[in-house]
């Protein structure tokens, strides 16, 4: 074999397994030995080069912008996948929470102030100490909420609760709110809320949803009393219920 033939073999087969003839030639030809050694040096050096080089972040930013501009990226359509009750309720609550909290509290207080004296006026006139009568009845009122047909049987407030238990679930600010709300709710079933029966139906449906949510929050808090998030949601739910009841009563008053 000559040098040129060896090179043809290298070109066709690479530097791997050489034929016996090629090996014999290499053993006797210093120039070809040097040549093959150089090629092996190059191959070894090439393998030491980094296979991957991290590109700058700006490439992806620019690429993504281009993909969006061309409409190649399609944002996923919201699919109503069955999610956990907690996730869905959490999502439902979030947008309104902060915006309505203050207004709802004010409304609830206003309703309380305007309705209670009117309901108890005869008692107040007859006997001053009787004004205090509804106070001890607070647990009963709380317990009476669940008796509403709109609430699920599993709703926490539907179970008779001791005052201490109620306190554990709803600290003092929400106790009065809960009391007020439940009392206000007592009037709702008998009230024609709106001239439009569809609106009426929607309002009642909203109330049912809120009651269910409150019940679930309370249930959750029973199991995880330290869950601050659940407690916060419960407060918010009370506020929203106050808001809703105020709207319902306003509507009922206007129509009746």
């Amino acid at each position: 074999m000559h040098c040129k033939e060896l090179e043809s073999v290298l070109e066709a087969e690479g530097l791997g397994q050489l034929s016996k003839d090629a090996r014999l030639h290499l053993a006797t030809c210093g120039a070809c030995q040097g040549f093959v050694a150089d090629l092996n040096t190059i191959v070894t050096a090439a393998k030491s080069l980094p296979v991957e080089v991290t590109p700058p972040d700006r490439i992806w930013i620019s690429l993504r912008a281009q993909l969006e501009a061309e409409g190649l990226i399609k944002e996923p359509v919201e699919v109503s996948e069955p999610s956990s009750w907690w996730d869905s309720l959490t999502a439902w609550m979030k947008p309104r929470t902060l915006a309505t909290a203050a207004a709802a509290l004010v409304l609830a207080t206003a309703i309380y102030v305007t309705r209670i004296p009117r309901n108890n006026q005869p008692d107040v006139a007859k006997n001053q100490p009787k004004v205090e009568a509804p106070r001890p009845a607070q647990p009963q009122l709380t317990a009476s909420v669940p008796s509403s047909p709109t609430l699920p049987s599993s709703a926490a407030p539907s179970k008779p609760q001791t005052p201490s238990k109620a306190k554990e679930l709803a600290p003092s600010p929400s106790e009065s709110a809960s009391f007020t709300l439940n009392q206000a709710e007592l009037d709702v079933p008998n009230m024609q809320l709106a001239g439009n029966s569809q609106v009426d139906l929607a309002l009642r449906q909203n109330l049912r949803t809120l009651n269910a949510f409150i019940a679930e929050c309370e249930q959750h808090l029973k199991q995880n009393p330290q869950d601050e998030l659940a407690r916060e949601y419960l407060y918010t739910a009370y506020q929203q219920k106050a808001d809703l009841l105020a709207a319902m009563m306003e509507s009922g008053r206007g129509d009746n």
Partner: protein, 242 residues
């Protein structure tokens, strides 16, 4: 010659589940990245990208971007052009991803697109690297191993470092450079290179051998140049500037 590293898109690369975390992201990119790390197989990501899922596009980009960037960088030799070419390659890839049917490995498909983009650019722009091809002796490819009579010992052993190798690779003609980078640097097999380059396996082998031979000459030239500079420096009197 066997590939020494795992290549994304080969059987292993196509089926393994890869987790990409966005934790290191910063700035605008961080805002655009999904909040949670995603763990998909390449096949899942391709399917989602075909449906226009942004996270899947990014997943594929993160999975292959570093190799593609390395290829572009070695092909054009400067980061600005490499960035431009990489973006163009991925843009083409994502435009056509709907047509990907899995007949070849995804990485092969991507590299084919990248190589085409790079070669097209080199042809269009006639980057300075092309001109060097003309300076080489036309019969160099057909002659036997070069022997420089009377020249100093030009054995490359111990004289090739990363810097002069990278510099010499940049001087290779684009075709040789592509095959050399794909095979000897990135570890692709000849059948994969043939698929990427649209040539026969024999052609790929032949091109690789010629690339190595040419590279040897370029490296020898580098060594000679260095030797000349050293001699020049040695002749210059040390106090001549005073």
């Amino acid at each position: 010659m066997c590939a020494s590293s795992v290549i994304p898109g080969t059987t292993l690369g196509a089926t393994r589940r890869i987790r990409i975390s966005s934790g290191a992201a910063t700035g605008q990119l961080a805002r655009q990245r999904p909040a949670q790390p995603v763990a998909w197989t390449e096949a899942e990501a391709i399917r989602l990208a075909q449906a226009g899922n942004a996270a899947a596009f990014e997943f594929l980009y993160q999975l292959h971007g570093r190799r593609v960037y390395a290829l572009c960088l070695r092909m054009v030799g400067n980061p600005a052009d490499a960035e431009d070419l990489m973006q163009e390659a991925f843009l083409q890839l994502f435009r056509k991803i709907g047509t990907f049917r899995g007949e070849s490995a995804f990485s092969t498909w991507l590299h084919r697109m990248t190589v085409n983009v790079v070669l097209m650019r080199l042809r269009k722009k006639s980057l300075p690297t092309d001109s060097l091809e003309e300076t080489l002796e036309p019969d160099a490819e057909n002659s036997g191993p070069k022997r420089d009579v009377g020249a100093p010992d030009l054995r490359l052993s111990g004289a090739v470092d990363r810097v002069n190798l990278e510099r010499s690779i940049e001087k290779l003609p684009p075709g040789y450079r592509t095959v050399f980078v794909l095979h000897d640097v990135q570890g692709y097999e000849h059948n994969e290179i043939a698929d990427i380059m649209g040539c026969s396996v024999g052609n790929s082998k032949s091109q690789l051998h010629k690339a190595r031979t040419r590279l040897r000459e370029l490296l020898q030239e580098e060594i000679r140049q260095q030797a000349r500079e050293e001699r020049k420096a040695a002749k210059t009197p040390s106090g001549s500037l005073d």
